[in-house]
């Protein structure tokens, strides 16, 4: 299953054959299926796909936050620094979260408790994981706020979340996530809810912090532009499984999977003078997946064979793609 492009030299995170199920009116449905990849120390990897493709669920699985009753990890292995996370009990997992692996979420407006001040919540996280006195933790929080670019941190630390703008709240959440200097930061659509100019600031901040602290980043997003500007490697998901992995440059220059190519062709602004070339149809519902390749009904390059056997992820010269025709198709990229 594992291939070149999805492995890293010194992996912080290793995911093997991960499958996650959720209970729905159609019974237990597999939402993430056979996902394997690695994230290397200090590396930024993009996990990209459209809504419902399973990218966020994968991220939540790493933190052990798939809720007990409505969802479960049904298969696979998640290792952080070589330690099997799925084998940990909830108490051990709590000690890892926030300490070794941290997460920043999409909705900065609702992701901080409105009932407590920013400082209160930052001190709480610091003191939970590190042996610090209250005043040390407060001092450290001020430094962190300063580091994430919040002006006047001495005053802001006593603000309630509603007194801060969306961009500032996202900075606070980043400061909180990075307060214990984790080995891995998972950023789940960290800028989707922000305006473009603020998004640029936050992405810039994340890149700077990463360079400084040397942590690995798994960036979950639907935005091809964000991925191309921030990530070294990209993993593309479709309908719950990985369809392509490659280095960012390779992926954008020459996509191997027709879905990747079709997504690029759907972007307005790349070829402003040509009409858009949208992907027809919709993502197949999980309880009625087609027998062959899951992208086959929407794929303009599909041949008869694509409708019968489900393709595996095959390595193609240092990268991988889940397409029978990966070798013979020449798909257009975004050109340089």
């Amino acid at each position: 299953m594992s291939s070149h492009a999805s492995s890293a030299v010194d992996p912080v995170l290793q995911i093997e054959d991960l499958a996650v199920e959720f209970i729905t009116e159609h019974g237990w449905l597999t939402v993430v299926d056979g996902v394997s990849f690695e994230v290397g120390r200090g590396e930024t990897v993009g996990l990209i796909g459209e809504s419902g493709c399973g990218k966020s669920v994968t991220a939540m699985a790493v933190l052990g936050l798939i809720e007990q009753r409505s969802g479960r990890v049904s298969r696979g292995c998640i290792r952080l620094d070589g330690r099997d996370l799925l084998a940990l009990d909830s108490r051990e997992m709590r000690e890892i979260r926030g300490r070794k692996v941290a997460m920043v979420f999409q909705e900065p407006m609702t992701s901080i408790d409105p009932a407590f001040t920013v400082g209160n919540q930052m001190v709480e996280v610091l003191r939970r994981h590190l042996p610090m006195s209250r005043s040390q933790a407060r001092q450290r929080s001020v430094e962190l706020l300063d580091r994430v670019g919040i002006t006047d941190p001495h005053r802001r630390i006593d603000s309630f979340p509603h007194e801060l703008s969306g961009g500032m709240r996202q900075r606070v959440l980043i400061a909180m996530a990075l307060s214990c200097e984790p080995d891995l930061l998972i950023a789940d659509e960290p800028t989707t809810a922000l305006d473009v100019t603020v998004q640029a600031q936050v992405l810039d901040l994340l890149a700077g912090l990463q360079a400084e602290m040397g942590m690995a980043v798994l960036l979950v997003t639907h935005d091809l532009g964000v991925v191309s500007e921030t990530c070294e490697r990209v993993i593309v998901m479709y309908a719950g499984e990985i369809v392509e992995t490659a280095s960012t440059d390779e992926l954008f220059a020459r996509p191997l999977h027709p879905y990747t190519a079709a997504m690029l062709a759907s972007l307005p602004g790349l070829h402003p003078d040509e009409p858009l070339d949208p992907i027809p149809g919709i993502v197949p519902p999980r309880h009625a997946l087609p027998p062959g390749c899951w992208f086959e009904p929407r794929c303009e390059h599909a041949i008869e064979l694509c409708g019968s056997g489900h393709p595996t992820l095959v390595a193609v010269g240092g990268r991988s793609a889940r397409c029978l025709r990966a070798d013979d198709l020449r798909l257009p990229g975004v050109g340089s």
Binding site: H222, L224, S228, P268, L270
Partner: protein, 353 residues
């Protein structure tokens, strides 16, 4: 793409110096003590068959301007002329008549369709409001369903059963039911995924060409706006700061804000990547806008004048821009602001990537 739909005839929409503010805070006795200035003296013109893109970040007032045009919100000052008729103060039958000519598609396809209604009835609602007979409604609905790429069977479903893209198609069909000349599209694709977004954009383009529709296309995504628009207007903190032909604004921004907005867009194409201009801070509150130019607090080129005098929109060829860099100081006089940005970063020896 860049040719304006038509030039000679009367504009389908003329908005002049429209302003709107909302109460922002009240004192202990419930009296309004501060007002949020959502739109300030905004003017724009749309010709038949033309698409004007209106870009801005959240809080820029672009959606309010769309609602003002639709007369969903009453204006405080200014004039709205639709196809030669002043509808600023229209009400009752007059407004009903005006609404045959303009329709709106909203951002959130989830809440813009009544979950209790069949898709067929949603599309026919405007027709019923104008007393179209049942038989005519049925045939019109069938035609509209086909026009937006939905099947006959979709008509007898509830909107809640559809995906976001399909819902937006329903909303477009409803907007087209009365065969309007102008459609206000308020962020019609921003809630959609990339592939669905492309489907809806293509549909809007096809319909425009087939029916000679004019669009006021409101969005925060410059790439999307550039793709679909003939002309682009950029809003910042309630004011229009730059208007001009789409390619001009996109490739040679005259206003520092437009430039910053463009450079902040994440771009998957490495070659066309612009040098990033990181704006400091965030948009000030529209309750308490800064004096002088509204952008001066975040502008790298701000001069003393900018902090005192509010710049007016001045025309330089096809482009209008409200910035002192053009009427004083370095006298850019309508040239792209990127020139001085480049000079500046070269001067400070920042590596251009």
């Amino acid at each position: 793409m860049n040719t304006t739909g038509s030039t000679a005839s009367t504009p389908i929409l003329e908005v002049s110096e429209v302003s709107k503010s909302f109460p922002a805070s009240k004192d202990v006795f419930g009296r309004v003590v501060a007002r949020l200035q959502a739109v300030v003296e905004a003017s724009l013109t749309i010709n038949p068959g033309e698409t004007l893109g209106l870009v801005g970040e959240s809080g820029s007032g672009k959606s309010t301007l769309g609602r003002l045009v639709m007369r969903l919100t009453d204006v405080d000052a200014g004039r709205i002329v639709l196809d030669g008729d002043d509808i600023t103060e229209s009400n009752g039958p007059e407004l009903r008549a005006a609404r045959r000519k303009m329709q709106i598609v909203f951002q959130d396809p989830q809440s813009s369709l009544d979950p209790n209604w069949l898709v067929r009835d949603i599309i026919a609602e405007p027709l019923r409001a104008y007393g179209v007979s049942r038989a005519d409604r049925l045939s019109a609905t069938e035609r509209l369903l086909a026009d937006v790429g939905l099947e006959h069977a979709h008509g007898s479903r509830y909107a809640s059963e559809f995906s976001g893209g399909q819902r937006q198609r329903v909303a477009i069909a409803r907007a087209l039911a009365l065969e309007p000349n102008l459609v206000v599209c308020d962020e019609p694709v921003s809630a959609l995924d990339v592939s669905t977004q492309a489907q809806v954009l293509s549909l809007l383009e096809a319909l425009r060409d087939r029916r000679n529709l004019a669009y006021l296309f409101i969005a925060h995504d410059l790439a999307v706006v550039h793709h679909i628009s003939h002309r682009i207007a950029v809003m910042y903190l309630g004011r229009i700061v730059e208007v001009g032909p789409a390619d001009d604004v996109y490739n040679r921004p005259r206003h520092p804000y437009t430039e910053a907005l463009l450079s902040a867009m994440p771009n998957p194409k490495p070659a066309s990547r612009r040098q990033r201009i990181l704006l400091t801070g965030e948009m000030p509150s529209p309750v308490d806008p800064p004096p002088g130019c509204r952008f001066q607090t975040r502008c790298a080129h701000a001069m003393d004048l900018c902090r005192r005098v509010e710049p007016e929109l001045v025309a330089y060829g096809d482009v209008e821009v409200a910035c002192h860099l053009h009427d004083t100081g370095p006298e850019l006089a309508g040239a792209s602001v990127t020139e001085i940005s480049r000079g500046r970063s070269a001067g400070s020896a920042a590596p251009a990537s």
